[in-house]
């Protein structure tokens, strides 16, 4: 039995989406997240069963708005999208072909849909036909730690003159040319995942991966109207980060090999799907894989509250955030840092400098407050 299947138990693996992959890249040092994700474990259900449900959700208003905006952009064969692309890329194309890759008939498997995308894009890459083509609902694949993740850009690959662009449709507004930086950053990270997947696919097919542009087209509503506007976003930096993190992820195999043989995160669901695994047992299992908690996890990882609780119990300085940890020169626990500060703990090797600074801070703090 595959060790990852054993970790997950007898349920199908949860598919990765680009958002999850992008979040994965945000905290690459966390073995717990790497293992759980590689095994396709439902982290949300795990966290809930542990008594620490994820603290975030998406408002139905945001979902409705996102879907409505995407529908608007893609209306009548992406007519609106084509208008913007013509302006943005300065293309003299009167019309473009529209191919819906989601249309394979019936209820096809991801594998089948991916082969279909692959076949069509292969032909497109071979053709070097100058007519623009929009490919809606493509299904891409990315190898993550030895697992295939199927990715569906909510979005489209646009091919023109032999070059492909990833198009990302987002419903946050761009007001006077500016949008919320964290939202743009998240969109760029997500688009980078698609660029990478598409490049890998072209490479496998024997084409030049450089034919997928590192400039993605971000489509957002402009100002306060519903009218979409397109901008080019350079994702080279995000691509580099992603590649590096994914390369690290391949090492998940060695983490898994080091785990105790009987370890499983199986929730032992009964016939109705309710988890029956004793919570204490599951807790021990999850704690068997080391986590690296950071406050940023609170907005990206389902298990964050569990890990935060664990970090608090261990007195880890991770709890206070990276800035504090940096200021403490990497001293791992709160009692240790406090001990260095009041002098009750002699500094270990390499800790002389931070200990001196903490003692000074302690002295000055006592003097002025």
């Amino acid at each position: 039995m595959d060790p990852l299947d054993r970790l997950r138990g007898p349920v199908p693996p949860r598919p990765h989406d680009a958002r999850a992959i992008a979040a994965l890249a945000a905290n690459p040092g966390c073995a717990r997240r790497a293992v759980l994700d590689a095994a396709g474990i439902d982290k949300d259900a795990t966290a809930t069963h542990l008594g620490f449900p994820a603290p975030f959700g998406q408002s139905p208003f945001a979902i409705t708005r996102g879907n409505a905006f995407e529908a608007l952009v893609k209306e009548s064969g992406c007519a609106e999208l084509l208008r913007m692309l013509r302006e943005l890329l300065g293309l003299p194309i009167a019309q473009a072909a529209y191919t819906d890759l989601g249309d394979v008939g019936g209820n096809p498997s991801a594998h089948l849909r991916h082969s279909h995308t692959r076949g069509l894009l292969d032909r497109a890459a071979r053709d070097r036909d100058d007519a623009g083509t929009l490919y809606d609902h493509p299904l891409l694949r990315l190898e993550i730690a030895g697992q295939s993740a199927y990715l569906e850009p909510d979005v489209v690959a646009f091919q023109l003159g032999g070059r492909f662009h990833i198009i990302e449709i987002k419903s946050f507004a761009v007001v006077d040319g500016q949008a919320e930086p964290d939202k743009v950053a998240a969109a760029a990270r997500q688009a980078a995942v698609y660029v990478l997947a598409l490049r890998n696919m072209l490479q496998e097919l024997g084409h030049d991966p450089g034919r997928v542009s590192h400039e993605v087209v971000l489509v957002c509503p402009e100002n306060f109207a519903n009218r979409p506007a397109a901008t080019l976003v350079d994702v080279r930096r995000q691509l580099a980060v992603l590649r590096r993190q994914l390369a690290r992820m391949t090492r998940v195999g060695s983490i898994v090999d080091a785990l105790p043989p009987g370890l499983t995160f199986d929730l032992a669901r009964d016939a109705d799907g309710a988890p029956t695994r004793p919570v204490a047992e599951l807790r021990e299992a999850v704690r068997g894989v080391g986590a690296r908690y950071a406050p940023d996890c609170l907005s990206t990882c389902d298990l964050c509250l569990f890990c935060r609780d664990e970090a608090a119990a261990e007195g880890s300085t991770d709890l206070l955030g990276r800035q504090v940890r940096d200021a403490l020169g990497g001293v791992a626990t709160v009692p240790e840092a406090l001990g260095l500060a009041d002098g009750s703990l002699p500094p270990g090797e390499g800790q002389e400098e931070i200990a001196r600074l903490l003692r000074l801070a302690d002295r000055i703090y006592a003097e002025v407050s």
Partner: protein, 490 residues
Amino acid sequence: MSTLAALARLRALRDGTAQRLATVRHVHLSERPMVLIPLRLAGEAAAPLAVMAGTDPAHPRLLVVPQPRDRDLRFAFAAELAELLLPYIESLQKDTETVERRGAEPYERCVDAPQLIVPNRGAAAFVQLLGRSTRFRRAEGPYAVHASVPLLGRWLTFLAQRGRHPGSSLMPAATEALSLHWATGQSALEDANLASLIGWIDPPPGMTGAAAARQAEDPLIWPPAGPASDPGFDAEVLAPAIRAYEETRTEHAEARVREAVRSQLEPTWRLMWRAVGLLAALPAGPGCAGRWEADRAAFTSFAAQLAEGAPPQPRRDGAVGAASRLARMERAQASYDAQRAYDDPLVMAGYRLTGEAFTGTVAHADPERTEGEGRGRKLRPLVTVRTTDPVRLAPGTRLGTPERRGQQAELVAIDGEHVTLKIVKGMGRGMAATPGAVPGVGERVCYAALLDDFQPPAALPPPEETPWTHGGPPPEYEPPSDEEPDEEWS
């Protein structure tokens, strides 16, 4: 983050209660501040859902948009908000004082200014967005709105922009103001949650700050302070209420939305006034009054611009406007940093830790020392301070001191624990130092490489002479034409 602030967080975690990061208050508190809590509809750019606002803790005003996607309802809401906010702002323009200036005409300055306290940075950004979406509207033509709406937009824009000016207290965010004065045992990210921040600072009796902060994270007990509402509330309460309103458009349905929103805002309303109370309990730092004076001057001058019929603030600053804004903000930041350190030994402590400041006792003083010959002879007293602080300053660095504002010294040499300084400014004219101007042996003194002296404004060309390298002169303001309503608020 300084080691001092990091240590304060560690202690907060150990003791289960927030630790002071300041001995005095660095934010001005108006006698009659207005608390304003905006909520937006999730997923929309600038669809206000509600605002709870007012100057009386016992009587909050609640304005609600029962269907935030409806454009007419939004503008009706903006007009209502204007009715609430503009009288408050206008009441503060009445009383003025005459300010005499050296070498310039005296001018009139309002004796007080509005202070809008919002829960967090997100709320401040949303206020700015509301300002942006209303200030270009017009009271006539198609898509006409109530005349007060564009005026509201300009004021909101002014307050939000000024709120980002270092040291300004016209529109402080409660979480930021509190974080400036207290360190909690959680991360800065979690401090953005007002309820949990206040939990650390002022836990209910019999509860640790840590426990109160954890409890504060439950959106059922403490709904988020906005501008986004809790997704669970959106799904279970708000969405059905809005749908019912959409279907029936009755008063009853409107009241249902209203009460739902009220349940989300009332806990935050109480928290906001607790935040005001916590800040008010700190003694005001000496620099607050001067910075508030600058706020009052900015308020007066903006009110005058409006009265003269100036066009709405541009969407984006032109090249000259942007450069001068940046220069102003940089100077304000330097001056704000220096003032806070001079006003507060705990803030100064951060600079002592990094070696940019030091405290010690005077070991030797030569108040009558002079330099130069003949007519060029100048009084340059020498002072040697003994300190155990790790001083990291180069000879020749200009230093200021909180004990004698306006005085400046130059670092001469560091020899072990002895730092020798030369006083170069502010010790009196002539060949003898003013009595008391030079610290005496045994006196405890503090010197810092922080100066809060006048810096001339950046030399920039007038906007109409913007060079072509910077895009040339910005276009004149033209109101949006009737045929093409530039943008809808939909």
